[in-house]
Amino acid sequence: MRRAVFRNPWLPYALVAPQIAITLVFFFWPAFDSLRLSLYRASPFGDRLIFIGGGNFARLLGDPAYFRSAATSLGFSLVVTVAGLAVALLLASLANARIRGLALYRTLLLWPYGIAPAVAGVIWLFVFHPSFGVLPYLLSFVTAYQFNWFLKGWVALMLIVIAAIWKQFGYNLAFYLAGLQAIPGSVLEAASVDGAGPIRRFFAITFPLLSPVTFFLFTLNMTFAFFETFGLIHAVTQGGPGDATSILVYRAWKDGFDGLQLGYSAAQSVILMLLVIALTAAQFRYAEKRVTY
């Protein structure tokens, strides 16, 4: 730790004051209020709160729709992350050569990061449009199956998965390329001399050496898919058809703002909070391990 240099009885407090004020008012107060609210439900006229203890949690845990939503969230996030990273890693490994113009490629790969998930969703909504979209049109030559996201849950889910992967893809690819360029060629050459084929080299050397990049991208993509795709769902599918794309965050918002079930929504927030705390803890434990590695 650095030796503190300046001395002043009040200045440091004044410097942290804005940060602490916002933290207390907009983070801690609402977080505690979520905890409190999760133990209540609104009266039929919505004019007062009735204490019901663990009632909201009991209702959530007894609701198959909530478990479906949890499964959808987890499945969605894992598919977006694993599929997105696997394809990016595959292409990056194939494209790993000393080439010119890498900076230009990077620009051409990174720009979709700037597109809001909701806007990405709107674009893909039309690409997938059952009557006018280019994708169902092309698929109609292959199969008579109707790829209609109005009616079929899995098509709607596929639509948001693809929109999410698209938004993150160039970014993942750019990071893997940078990671690969940092692996010394001599290591791979040595393995090659020892008779290791390209696949063996990949799994024995490249993949382990890239694990910090993979970990970084995995956390980032999971967080993105879990929390930042709200706009994508809200603008594109509104959780439907049925509840096929109703991920946890969307559900918590809908029950709170559309359904005005404040306590029920707060209980969902509390569960999400526990999830974030667990994920952050896991992330830090792994990061610590990685430092010693």
């Binding site: 240099v5 940060q19 806007v119 674009i123 039309f126 109005f150 999400l272």
Partner: protein, 271 residues
């Protein structure tokens, strides 16, 4: 070597084309007439209705106001976060004070409290303050930033102590040191953080959706929702795509223009 680099160029070029296709398609649609949009097979070449579609989209949702709101929100959130986190990092690194550990942990814990985990109650707090449907409500609650604070803290700790000691010997107080020495040294970090935060502020969806209820206070990403043709409406996807193009252009342009800082920001803020 020659063959492998040809393969590499080929793969990257194909990836870029595949990634760019949806945007190209959206642009093409935004230049077509309603008849062209709804005709099969889909037409993949630009047409002549660009001006009309963009003007339609602009007029129907009040795009001028939406883009202005997004600009105000993105700038205020980005600059506010930078200033606030810069100041608190300065206090944490350069001062000893009672409660420093507590302050540090409080900032750390905000990492675990993103908006989605406190949806209803944050809305209630903002509403108690009377900030619903105001720029205050849209920006101030988003200005605390653990990542920003940690980024500056990390950076300040790499700056040798002797610099601050020398400044002190020359009679410079802490604020003078911050303004004249630390700030100029931090410009690359500030620029990196700015790109990331501007894009985040521009594209944020859940917060403005909760905090605003009039079309005048909506930000652009939410305001264009009204243009997406639903089942029973006229399929004016050309107008919807024109709106989408206008909304996505500013953040994408900033990323491309400030690419060096953008990449630095991506790496630094996720450490």
């Amino acid at each position: 070597m020659g063959r492998s680099s040809a393969i590499a160029h080929g793969i990257l070029a194909v990836s870029i084309v595949v990634i760019a296709f949806p945007l190209y398609y959206a642009f093409v649609i935004s230049t077509q007439s309603l008849d062209e949009v709804t005709s099969l097979p889909p037409k993949l070449a630009p047409s002549t209705h660009l001006v009309q579609n963009y003007a339609d989209a602009w007029a129907r949702v009040g795009m001028g106001r939406l883009l202005l709101n997004s600009t105000i929100v993105a700038l205020a959130v980005a600059l506010g976060k930078i200033v606030i986190s810069l100041l608190s990092a300065f206090a944490i690194v350069y001062f000893d004070f009672r409660g420093k550990q507590l302050v540090f942990w409080m900032i750390f814990i905000t990492l675990m409290l993103p908006v989605p985990v406190r949806i209803v109650s944050t809305y209630q707090v903002v509403s108690v303050l009377g900030w619903i449907d105001t720029y205050w409500g849209l920006t101030v609650p988003l200005m605390a930033s653990a990542t920003g604070t940690f980024l500056f803290r990390q950076y300040y700790r790499t700056i040798p102590d002797s610099l601050a000691e020398a400044a002190q010997l020359d009679g410079a107080g802490p604020l003078r040191f911050l303004w004249s020495i630390l700030l100029p040294l931090s410009t690359a970090n500030i620029a990196a953080l700015f790109v990331i935060l501007f894009v985040y502020g521009w594209n944020d969806y859940l917060w403005p959706l909760m905090i605003t209820n009039s079309q005048e206070m909506r930000t652009a990403v939410i305001g264009i929702d009204a243009l997406i043709p639903r089942t029973s409406q006229l399929p004016e996807w050309n107008v919807a795509m024109a709106a989408a193009m206008m909304v996505l252009l500013p953040p994408v342009a900033i990323i491309v223009a400030m690419q060096r800082w953008f990449v630095k920001g991506l790496v630094e803020t996720e450490k």
